[in-house]
Symmetry: C2
Subunit: 630 residues, 2 copies
């Protein structure tokens, strides 16, 4: 039943061996690996502005945007340069998990792994929520929270299904939305800066009124405190999320991999940095304000720059939505990949480590979708509510990865290691400081959640690892231990004599057991007579035992009978054979075999007992594959 | 795993044989069977008033309340008298399903069954939503829809859990809230009528303003049209829901059952009729208006009568909540009971018909809770939105049941049959007319839903029935068909040599199969060497076959090997034995046996193939029950 149902939903299974290792060119690689990072331009400026508007009087609030954006871009350059080192050191792919495992130790790698899993989940929740806001701005439904949440869940569901069916990170799928957004973004920036230099860029009119709204709700300062600047910077720092993607994907590049990858990284950082700085600069002049439950800042600005809701405006909104969906989709590839690495080290259920089976990825995809859906519901698909949670995982990963690189240089002392060490040390220092800033400035508004959750995940990792070590030790056969000779009593459960029960009896006989008996449960003497009669009619060469159960309850009389068997024969296995129907449709399956299921569950913990279902296949509409009957 | 998890949640299984058939006295029976009916006084007046206020100008709107209430009470008396006939004719319990099946035919009984299942689901949704409104009136949170929905879902969840754990319809549990509500209700009515006669009963002050609100939103008439009167009457007619409960429960009464049951029915009708008429009369004078998102009408009136929010007021509100929860709880007993009747007739999955197993009721309880939860979410826990759906199922059941009684009298011609016939004919006629009125007057505002859903359920019933008939026919053994002698090849899957795989090998040998082979899947030559070495070390007397799979994929090489076996031996069963760990905790189970699960799923549809898991028990912390090893 599960199988057929799954087949319908997710399609035919694909063999691992079909997994392709196609190398991709730089333009495609940029689209595949950069969508996550570049898409953050859609919300980063707004998130900085929100922090400022809630604390600083309008229009002073806007004067901090550009300086903070510059600080974030400087950080981006530092981290990007630092990751170039990783790309060259780990041409087989160097995610934070691997780099910390190889260089620091298991605990650090587990913290990095947990951080990244949290990060991927938030990438899905934030990107989809933000994408819905982009569409909602264009169609004016952002005030309807239920609709937004519903749409966000719908898109998560679609991506979950798409990925379960095996939507690949095919370059083309990524290239179109990513480049479309980049083109629309730079068109918007070009238009905006043209208007800025010709003096046509006025302030957005609605802002005065909304600014008053902030003044009413919050006590505003005339200039920003350090704490507010740090908090705003922490919001802006989310543009760095996704920067590490390329270092994971080095093996996917054409040769020379490391060089191509680092060039792509530079290109991505340039687009991201320019886009973010450009939007922030225009926001400084256009003076949009954050309109919760209304339009996004980018949408307000686009209307102003493009002169209304024309084709260019809708192009940008739709492009924003599209790249954000792509960004979320990268997490659907990254999450199961990382899970499989962690599982192969024995810190997650082992079957997740078996990349050969599609099921592995399915579990990862389902887990990711489920957790992202929970986040979307709990945080009402509000990007601003999710952002404080986001940066903690991202910067924990950065810091550990770069600390790992520091140890890597100190250990290997490869050519130019001092230069590399300096770069990574600067990177590590900056991201650690930013991590501290994020936790400090946003702790009370959400950053406490990852601070609590990440160690909890690490504890689960350890617990799983300990369990595997223990069971492996306890299961290990002792040297020279041998297989013992035992007897077997086979008990076939029979309701009435059908082709199914005859097949089960044929199967039982083919096993040549030491003892073979058929058992039936009856509620009335007439029933017993009927089955005795059938037994004679079909000349069944197996002893029949009737158990009496007035309430037609199956499990208890059978258990009692098995206890009797156990008492009678020593050193004996008991095999309970249950005839089962294998039906074509899963919904039909629901209508049968339920008693067998209950019995199997009850007998599971019984020592020396094995329950075997003998399936009887009803195929096609009229044919019965009557195995074992003549 | 499922088992342990379920055990934790729902507690130990209980044997059917423990099912008690305690006889209960009239006062307890009244509490058990009447809570559903009496609880409807909490919302019926308000629902009538809502219809009137949306169409008729204030205060004329209130002048129709008492006449319509009288009409509903007359209907109650007619239906109650009619059901007295059923109680005497079916001392073993005569629900609409049984009465229509015995007297009309299968289609009628299926329609009655479907109607009642819909009815029970709505009972849960309406009662719980209304109960939350009662509490919300006292604490003033009815404007917070999300909170109301959340609370309603919470209570449904609690009742689901409580019933899964085996909360019984114990008399005491019902008696306290039911009688508490009855006492509070009559205290309220006594106070109200005392004030009415002393002239102290003023109109509720807030009403003028709210009345204006209706005038603004709707075009109001100076007097009610027939359509509006019918629609208001349809709302009032919900007080009849639950009236049939006693006729189902006759066997639970002390002897003489039928007489005691009909006296209890009369008592219930009296309380219900007096309560409903009393509330409606006071509403006529107090002139409350429906305040959606605010207080219930009963709460407004109680404040006025009791002179504020004192202990008596809170008593009534809490009593209302408590009896409504009890009302919902009756559905949790009725739904699985009816499902089991329908299942025993082969129209629902058979296992539901097996009352001996607790699982049966669990399924019914889960289905009921799930559907009620969906209704609560979709209709935002608003009683007024659910009411139009409610009456259709109730009155379909009434009409069919009484039409069945008409045919019963005509068939049996028992003493005084003409009198009985007249009573039931009047009952049937009235309820059929009311059914038509309900469908006509509320079709567009919700009554279309049960009109669509009930036939769909009947179609599902028929489809299931047809499936059972077909499979029974196809599974039936032909006369003289015999069990054939076949051979068996046993394949034991081995990863590495552990105590678990040694046990599985011991089990396989105990079966004395015609051919026995152990199969392992290896990815590298070193792996193969290692297992060969282990094989020699443990002197395993079974042939070992190594299958090579570079990607560590299990399923495909094994399937290919089985295909080879099939090609080699004719008339042969293949038994695939998979060692399995039986662990103590369900969460540990998740960490193992997943490959076995996948394999089992893949092999399910393979003819002549049987998959057997041989569990190896790791018990306690250090002991290993090493069956089959020496």
């Amino acid at each position: 039943m599960t199988s057929t149902f799954k087949r319908i939903i997710v399609g035919k299974p694909i063999a691992t061996s079909e997994e392709e290792h196609q190398r991709i060119g730089k333009p495609t690689a940029l689209a595949v690996f950069a969508s996550d990072a570049i898409s953050s331009t859609a919300y980063a400026t707004e998130e900085m502005l929100l922090v400022l508007l809630m604390a600083v009087a309008f229009p002073t609030s806007h004067s901090y945007l550009v300086p903070i954006a510059i600080a974030a871009v400087v950080l981006l350059v530092v981290v990007g340069t630092s990751y170039t080192q990783t790309i060259h050191a780990y041409p087989d792919g160097g995610g934070a998990y691997v780099v910390s495992r190889e260089n620091i130790g298991p605990t650090a790698s587990l913290v990095a792994g947990a951080s990244l899993l949290v990060d991927y989940t938030l990438t899905v929740a934030v990107s989809i929520s933000s994408g819905v806001l982009a569409i909602g701005s264009a169609f004016g439904f952002n005030d309807k929270a239920t609709l937004r949440i519903g749409l966000a869940l719908f898109f998560v569901g679609m991506m979950c299904l798409g990925n379960l069916r095996g939507l690949k990170e095919s370059g083309k799928v990524f290239a179109v939305p990513t480049y479309f957004y980049v083109v629309m973004l730079f068109t918007f920036l070009a238009g905006g800066f043209y208007k800025l230099f010709t003096g046509d860029l006025g302030e957005i009119h609605t802002s005065a009124e909304l600014a008053k709204h902030y003044a009413e709700e919050h006590t505003l300062m005339t200039s920003a405190s350090l704490f507010i600047l740090l908090r705003a910077f922490s919001s802006g720092a989310v543009v760095l999320s996704g920067v590490e993607a390329i270092s994971n994907g080095v093996p996917a590049f054409r040769k020379p991999e490391s060089r191509n990858a680092s060039q792509t990284l530079a290109m991505m950082a340039a687009i991201l940095g320019l886009g973010f700085l450009g939007i922030s600069t225009l926001a400084h002049h256009l003076k949009p304000v954050v309109d919760e439950g209304g339009e996004t800042v980018l949408s307000q600005m686009a209307k102003s720059v493009f002169g209304g809701t024309n084709l260019l405006y809708y192009g940008l909104q739709f492009g924003t939505f599209a790249i954000l969906v792509m960004a979320a989709n990268t997490a659907f590839a990254d999450f199961p990949r990382l899970s499989s690495l962690i599982a192969r080290d024995g810190y997650l259920p082992r079957q997740l480590g078996n990349r050969g089976d599609r099921l592995v990825f399915s579990n990862g995809i389902l887990a990711l979708s489920g957790m992202a859906a929970v986040l979307i519901v709990v945080f009402q698909a509000e990007v601003s509510a999710l952002i404080p949670l986001y940066a903690v995982g991202v910067f924990t990963g950065f810091s550990l990865s770069q600390f790992g690189m520091i140890k890597h240089h100190l250990k290997l002392k490869e050519p130019k290691w001092r230069q590399g060490l300096a770069i990574n040390a600067l990177g590590c220092l900056s991201t650690t400081v930013v991590l501290a800033v994020v936790v400090y400035s946003k702790f009370t508004i959400g950053a406490w959640i990852p601070v609590v959750v990440i160690p909890m995940i690490v504890m689960v990792f350890r617990r799983i690892h300990r369990h595997y070590l223990t069971t492996d030790r306890r299961l290990a056969a002792e040297p020279g231990q041998k297989v013992r000779r035992r007897t077997n009593t086979v008990v076939v459960l029979v309701g009435k004599v059908t082709k199914g029960s005859l097949t089960a009896l044929a199967y039982a006989r083919s096993l040549n057991p030491d003892r073979l008996v058929a058992v039936t449960v009856v509620a009335e003497p007439e029933e017993q007579e009927r089955i005795n009669h059938q037994w004679q009619d079909h000349q069944i060469p197996v002893e029949l035992v009737s158990l009496y159960s007035p309430y037609r309850e199956l499990t208890r009389p059978i258990l009692r009978y098995l206890d009797d068997l156990d008492a009678r024969y020593e050193d004996d296995f008991v095999t309970v054979i249950v005839p089962e129907f294998a039906l074509q449709h899963w919904w039909q399956q629901v209508l049968h075999n339920q008693s067998a299921l209950v019995l199997r569950t009850r007998l599971r913990s019984r020592p020396n007992t094995v329950v075997t279902s003998v399936p009887f296949h009803l195929e096609g509409d009229h044919d019965v594959v009557a195995s074992g009957i003549e």
